[in-house]
């Protein structure tokens, strides 16, 4: 009884062709160079093979919260003044707990009025609690806090995205890193240049304008002495480096809460002051910040304000006229700083600074080294296995070798297709452990064939005719193959869910490889056996 295999063979050839298209694309020809070009376009390599930078950055969300509560503290003061209510100070007492605002020094008689005001105007965002000495504590509600947290991280991601685009990196990954709170994962394929990476991390610099409370002092001790030994909680000390290279420094007492900073800047351009020849940055503020800046500067004409970048004072200026939304900062900047600052401000400043938690750079040529070694190992492994199968299983060994080869084609084909169909957006990437996954797939692929062949041999030994032996062999081995594949896919899936970067790559190739293997070792191999049985003369033994 001969089986009609035409449809099955057409199906297998179709799968093969689709996968080949997936790997090479519509190649311009069949020359080696054209095929290699198609291959490199389709198969996406991970950072460890292509080279590149991998960063995990911690967003210091506390800073953004501190900025928000600081602003609110300012508004509360204005509201209390308007309502003619007395207070001694409104401030954020602890930077480690930036979500808490204190209102102190109201007389007992007006405490109720203060509480009513706070409740009605700020009760939707803050929980208001009254203390024993007529003081009030405003704590940001958890829901609002979480929303601000989320917004800050998203703004940081957007800002980094702008910066990465400015560098012209293709296919970067910038996303929230799920393992820890407020962490961002940045992957920059092909970037192994030190200074390019620095540009992104140094982008954590922030520009702020603070009110000057006192100074300049010679050093921190004399600054503290002038304040009577202790620094009020709403103030801070900052160092002014003065003219670059002069080595002279002085210390100022600044109000901790900035007047404008971070996201308040809309754009900035570098330039040089015509009169003094010093470097300057001209800036524009957002509308809201412009109003705030105008209000402050008109009230504080002839007071000083300090321009702070990277925790250092860059310039202290006297307010001569009220400023609304544009101005110039002339200061002790270096050329690089001016360029970096203007680029920073125009691409959207960060809402909070970033701290690198992890930084990996893989040199491109070291990555190429790894590919070469991994591929060599894979080819040697496959060749050894194929030769052994031919020797051990004779005619049926060809069958196993075809299945193995097809398995590799499908594996690479699916990776290529994922890139072709999604336009590269959600392409599966091949990493170095991924190549190891391919090698393991080869091992498991061989295992399926060995299971089937050994079973067929057993059936032949038991005296069954070739067709019945093949039938029984496949039927029995199928149960085992399903069990082994499902368990391994379960563990690969868990690896995929919990793994990062390279380990994920391993899970990807292993899972695809195992699925492909179910097709090749069971279906394709069966078709080849059936074709062989069709040609077998009655009484002729199976070549196994």
């Amino acid at each position: 009884m001969k089986k009609n295999l035409t449809n099955k063979i057409i199906g297998i050839v179709a799968v093969l062709l689709v996968c080949l298209w997936g790997i090479f694309g519509a190649s311009k020809g069949v020359t080696g160079a054209a095929l290699t070009e198609g291959l490199t376009k389709r198969i996406h390599l991970g950072l460890d093979l292509k080279g590149g930078a991998h960063l995990i950055l911690q967003v210091k969300v506390g800073e953004a919260i501190f900025a928000e509560t600081g602003n609110t503290a300012g508004r509360i003061q204005q509201d209390l003044q308007k309502a003619k209510l007395t207070y001694s100070q409104v401030y954020v007492p602890d930077q480690a707990k930036p979500e808490t605002i204190r209102v102190e020094g109201s007389p007992a008689a007006s405490a109720n009025a203060v509480e009513t005001l706070l409740d009605s105007k700020y009760g939707s965002i803050y929980n208001v609690a009254s203390g024993s000495d007529n003081s009030f504590t405003l704590t940001m509600k958890p829901l609002q806090l979480a929303a601000l947290d989320k917004k800050t991280v998203q703004q940081a991601i957007d800002a980094i995205g702008d910066r990465v685009n400015a560098l012209g990196v293709s296919e970067p990954v910038i996303q929230e890193y799920g393992l820890g709170k407020d962490q961002i994962l940045v992957e920059l394929p092909g970037v192994d240049n030190e200074s390019d990476i620095e540009k992104i991390i140094q982008g954590t610099n922030r520009l702020e304008v603070h009110a000057v409370v006192g100074g300049p002092y010679k050093d921190e001790q004399s600054a503290a002495a002038s304040l009577g030994g202790s620094l009020p909680p709403e103030d801070e000390l900052k160092t002014f480096t003065g003219v670059i290279g002069s080595g002279e420094t002085s210390v100022y007492v600044l109000q901790r809460q900035y007047i404008v900073g971070g996201q308040d800047f809309r754009s900035a351009d570098p330039g040089i002051d015509q009169n003094t020849g010093r470097r300057e940055v001209s800036f524009t503020l957002t509308n809201e910040a412009g109003d705030r800046f105008y209000e402050y500067t008109s009230k504080n004409v002839n007071h000083s304000m300090a321009v702070v970048m990277n925790d250092q004072i860059k310039e202290v200026a006297n307010i001569e006229n009220p400023i609304r939304d544009s101005g110039r900062i002339t200061g002790a900047f270096s050329q690089d700083e001016v360029m970096a600052l203007s680029k920073l401000l125009s691409t959207g400043a960060l809402p909070a600074s970033l701290a690198p938690l992890e930084r990996r750079q893989i040199g491109a040529s070291l990555g190429a080294d790894s590919i070469q070694k991994g591929v060599t190992a894979a080819i040697v492994g496959v060749a050894l296995v194929m030769v052994f199968m031919l020797i051990y299983y004779k005619g049926s060994g060809v069958n196993a070798d075809v299945a193995l080869f097809l398995n590799l084609v499908i594996l690479l084909g699916i990776m290529g297709l994922s890139s072709a169909l999604s336009g590269g957006a959600s392409a599966l990437t091949l990493t170095l452990p991924g190549i190891a996954g391919v090698i393991l797939t080869i091992g498991m692929g061989v295992d399926s064939n060995v299971l089937i062949f050994e079973r067929i041999r057993e059936e032949v030994r038991a005296g069954k005719a070739p067709a019945a032996a093949v039938d029984q062999g496949f039927a029995h081995a199928w149960v085992t193959i399903v069990d082994t594949h499902v368990t391994t896919i379960v563990s690969a899936a868990i690896l995929f869910m919990f793994g990062t970067g390279p380990v994920k790559g391993f899970a990807v190739t292993l899972t695809i490889g195992l699925l492909a293997n179910l097709f090749t070792a069971v279906f394709v191999s069966r078709v080849i056996f059936d074709a062989h049985l069709n040609k077998l003369q009655p009484g002729e033994p199976l070549s196994i």
Binding site: L179, G363, S365, A378, I442, M444, V479
Partner: protein
């Protein structure tokens, strides 16, 4: 060609030898972990992925001189740096050096260390290297801790996932026996890392999860055959069935592990330094994974049933379920 004709080995009769073998290797591994624990406060040498720290790998254009690099690094005022060559300088793709700094509590100082190392090499050591020949790993303690707990849970989850699947497909005791065998393999493989003082990196964890999958695979092949034989011959005693099943699948077991071993060995030899830890774990794991399905998982099934028989309970046979899907 055939390696095994009809074999008739009494595997269960050798269970005390197996137990002794497994105990010796497990205990040796545990003792070695204990020694590490007393010396460095951790049972295994953790790589930079978990422990945190700074590592700079540089491939120089000419053969580097380790002493001069040490001088360059200390001339730049970097303390506690360790300098070690990678692989063989005579080989193609040699000339690689690894310079590492110990873990620090402060993330900022880790990155500073990286800058110092690179500039020390550029300024104090006249052997040029390109940007594309530098690998850098700076891992802060926060990220390292996160990864450590993630790796631990990934292993636990994957074992639990497989246990549930086997419970569903066979019976609970089969799942338990298979998971115990996997645990045995993981313990001995980690013990081998402790004994040879090799570092555990993220890729080694991937290898260990692979070997868990592989060992499970091997155990299931044997279990499947036991289940099938139990269904066919109900009068045979369980030890006989188990012995016969192991013998029937023996040629497959030896062939598959032999061939997988071959591919992993080629990975160990040709895969380069980066994959060395990964392939070392698999080389050990495949040997021990094959051994454990015969010597740990199967005898455990029999021991369980014998214990139940002594308690006067009925022997639970999984053959009642149909094996075909």
């Amino acid at each position: 060609m055939e390696l095994f004709g009809k074999v008739n080995i009494d595997w269960l009769g050798k269970k005390w030898y197996f137990l002794a073998f497994s105990l010796i290797f497990s205990v040796a591994g545990i003792i070695s972990m204990g020694i590490h624990w007393s010396q460095i406060g951790s049972p295994l040498l953790l790589g930079v992925d978990f422990k945190g720290g700074t590592q700079v790998k540089v491939k120089f254009e000419q053969t580097p001189d380790i002493n001069r690099i040490r001088q360059a690094v200390s001339a730049a005022g970097i303390k506690d740096a360790s300098v070690q060559p990678i692989g063989d300088f005579n080989q193609a793709g040699g000339n690689e050096m690894l310079i590492s700094l110990p873990e620090q509590q402060d993330e900022a100082s880790l990155d500073l260390g990286r800058q110092q190392i690179v500039s020390a090499l550029r300024n104090f050591y006249p052997n040029p290297f390109k940007d594309s020949d530098v690998n850098v790993d700076v891992v802060g303690p926060t990220v390292g801790k996160q990864l450590e707990s993630k790796a631990f849970w990934a292993t636990i989850y994957s074992m639990a996932g497989m246990l549930v699947y086997l419970w569903f497909r066979f019976q609970l005791i089969y799942g338990v026996a298979a998971v115990v065998a996997c645990f045995h393999d993981t313990l001995i493989t980690l013990g081998a890392f402790a004994l040879t003082s090799q570092e555990i990196s993220l890729t080694v964890i991937a290898a260990i999860l692979t070997l868990v999958g592989y060992s499970m695979n091997d155990t299931i092949v044997v279990f499947d055959r036991i289940r099938e034989n139990l269904r066919l011959s109900r009068r045979e005693s369980l030890p006989d069935v188990v012995n016969r099943s192991i013998n029937q699948t023996l040629s497959r077991t030896v062939l598959t592990s032999g061939l997988t071993f071959l591919t992993v060995l080629s990975l160990y030899i040709f895969g380069g330094q980066v994959l060395r830890g990964f392939s070392f774990a698999l080389v050990i794991g495949i040997l021990i994974g094959t051994y454990s399905s015969i010597a740990v998982a199967a005898p455990m099934l029999v021991a369980w049933q014998e214990w139940r028989a002594k308690q006067g309970k009925a022997v639970v046979l999984p053959a009642a379920k149909r094996a075909r899907m």
